[in-house]
Amino acid sequence: MYYNEEFETLPRPALEALQLKRLRSMLERVYANVPFYRDSLNTAGITPDKIKSLDDLQRLPFTTKQNMRDSYPYGLFAAPMEEIVRIHASSGTTGKPTVVGYTHKDIEIWSELMARSFVSAGAHKGDIIHNAYGYGLFTGGLGAHYGAEKLGASVIPISGGNTKRQIMIMQDFGSTVLTCTPSYSLFMAEEAKAEGVDFKKLKLRVGIFGAEPWSEAMRCEIEEKLGLTAIDIYGLSEIMGPGVAIECIEAKRGLHIWEDHFIPEIINPETGQRVAEGERGELVITTITKQGIPLVRYRTRDITSITYEPCICGRTHARITRMSGRSDDMLIIRGVNVFPSQIESILVGIEGVEPHYLLVVDRNENLDTLEVQVEVNELLFSDEVKVLQRLAKRIEKEIKDMLGVTCSAKLVEPKTIQRSEGKARRVIDNRKL
């Protein structure tokens, strides 16, 4: 089943010709409208008219999250603000978010790609889609929502949280498709069990899970506990939001990336050179139809590999494998992006706190937990329990306020956090993904 059969099954030569045409048109737009790109292309000695083949893409400079931060908030927008109809943002490393803007056409394309993704996952018109991705600045909620409406399904915009109510609504409304983070799905299953609700008796048929890394083992566990088919979806706000790539229910082997709108490349994160098909490396994406904020060779920092082999589902679009990590130190905790450097800058902002800290990430009852260990020196120490507890609460609150992630601050004895000559070990990730 396809949502847009013509484009999803476009023969590769036609698909690549379309990519080249759209790439050149996008480059012309950013060259004309975005000073950052005009400068970076001029510096690289290449203008849009010099792009004669898709291979020429390699001659273009990369765009990084840092470039987006440097142009905060709207510096990389290629369309005038009068044409921007939506603004989303994701957390950034300095407390400033990464901002993206969408034109009407961008929203339309996003909705279509999400609708395609739903169909690829086995959903269809008539389904009742229980959308438990967060609504707000985060792209998950609204991205899935618009796609579900575009498909013509009934969407329940429940957003995240209030698990008991989620379970009641799934039961009473007869939800058939669930969209949320994989860890939240397992958490819901546990809650349901505690409430005496058998998830397997619900009408749920398909679950579309993303926004955080997960594994095949977790897929088995979810399918077993929830009694549904679990599908992996990939996306990031910088590129669009959810629906950049998704597995097909026919194969469940690799995520088709919608190549008529995005050109994927896999590079060696150290050298910046492309790696061979099937080899692991960092995913780099060029958006070729976006108007609001088109990005040239955006470094996602996600590690994957790509295959162009034909898929049994009939789609001609390349497949990327499940994300296996990051080429930077970003952590994804309950779907929230967290860089250790963000936590560091919050900690050093608290008087007396030293920059020796350790982040311990774990998964307890299927929910990610973050423990922030801080050494108690003489400046922080008090003979009164309440003073130390207040310090721990303050650390927890500032991290929650700045990063939106709940953590527990643990006070430890001085010199117990490992010092290192070179790169200090700041993170222990005990999650078994």
Partner: protein, 143 residues
């Protein structure tokens, strides 16, 4: 009028108390009184010792976070109601107790209560005026 107490931060893991008492013992320091405040993650060990400065130095050398606090030691008769009248006086004068711990004197038969007040000087003045016996630090260290 004030007594020096040392406080030590300890993580909630096995062997920490044993480690601290071993360090003090090796340095010939005698513990006069102690109290341990504990939470799920950490504890604060508060000690009255016979040699505050040495105790602080040796523990810091071993990497512990140590602080010195001024507390007040009061003698109360070791009989029913002995502590009650003292606490009533504090309450009447709106003096807050942050924490307290007690031990019984080896000779003399009185109980000694160590108090940490939020306003130490005000507390001392009030208690003296009300006729309570405040112990000098020197006496306590060598008790």
């Amino acid at each position: 009028m004030k007594v020096e107490q040392i406080s030590i931060f300890i993580e909630n893991k096995s062997g920490r108390l044993a480690e601290i008492t071993r360090i003090l013992g090796d340095s010939g320091i005698n513990i006069r009184a102690l109290s341990l405040a504990d939470t799920t993650d950490f504890g604060i060990l508060r000690l009255i010792v016979n040699d505050v400065e040495t105790a602080k130095t040796v523990l810091k050398e071993k990497g512990f976070t140590v602080s010195k606090t001024e507390v007040v030691a009061l003698e109360v008769p070791d009989r029913p109601g002995g502590l009650s009248s003292l606490l009533q006086t504090l309450d009447d004068n709106q003096i807050n107790v942050e924490y307290m711990y007690a031990f019984v004197e080896r000779c003399g038969g009185n109980a000694v209560i160590i108090f940490r007040f939020d306003e130490t000087d005000k507390a001392i003045g009030t208690l003296k005026d009300s006729g309570f016996t405040i112990l000098e630090g020197e006496r306590l260290y060598t008790l």
